[in-house]
Amino acid sequence: MQKEEHPLKKVCIICAKGTIEDVYATLVMANGAVMEGIETNVFFTFFGLDGITKKFMNSLKTGTVGNPAMRMPGGLPFPTLLGTLPGVEIGVSAMMRSQMEKLDIPPVSEFLEMIEAGGGEIYACKLAMDMFKLEKTDLWDGVKAVLTIGEFYEKCGGLQTQIIFT
């Protein structure tokens, strides 16, 4: 029997968390989809909105507390108590960003521009915007629209479409 291939045609990616790694997971997957010629919609909601808020998008942080996968350079354990000290979160986050820059992973705003240049569309969640008292003008200029979840689902139709929650 011949195996049928049904390549992805569209991905709809939802980002609900605002740490560096959550936002970048979304951006890498979105950009990767655009590069493959897959139609791409990205929906930022709750704390994920930081990823498209002008004031915060390029200085996202990683959580240094309660993350057992966090290790010191060299692989030694990273004690949670150390993560609570002032400045540690900023230092660790800066180190993550510099490591990404070495791999040619751009800052958030540039990454969003790359996704937009390839035809990917970026949306913000209306409910979360209301909750965090954000206006459209607070968001990155390339945000296509502020949508309700119902409106976002309308954009997720069609065969060979996947919704991904990062």
């Binding site: 890498v28 950009n31 990767g32 590069m35 493959e36 010629g37 791999l103 040619d104 992973i105 751009p106 540039e110 521009e113 790359m114 240049a117 390839g118 035809g119």
Partner: protein
């Protein structure tokens, strides 16, 4: 490993159609691969291909961002030149392996 004839020259390609020996590449071959990809090759396309070949030969990471910073074209223009999957198409036409980078 299989072989394919482009512009009267036999070249080695893998199962996905990427050339496996980039030294066999010529502009004429590029033109014929481009035609298969429904692209009418222009000097701009070739400039991008040469840029990718150069990066490849130096063993540097090939990313879409580096193409955007190449001074040849911006990223939007790159998507327009190679519609659909720009990095893969450009690499195929440039006679280099499929890019192994995620960005």
């Amino acid at each position: 490993m299989s072989q394919k004839v482009f512009a009267g020259t036999t070249v080695d390609v893998n199962e996905e159609g990427y050339m496996t020996d980039s030294t066999q590449w010529t502009k004429e071959i590029a033109k014929e691969i481009a035609t298969e990809e429904n692209i009418d090759l222009t000097d701009k396309h070739l400039a991008v291909c040469e840029f990718l070949r150069d990066k490849q030969s130096k063993g540097e990471n090939i990313t879409i961002r580096s193409v955007g910073n190449s001074g040849i074209i911006d990223i939007k223009g790159f998507y327009q030149l190679f519609p659909g999957a720009p990095m893969k198409k450009a690499a195929k036409i440039a006679g280099i392996p499929k890019p192994a980078s995620c960005v």
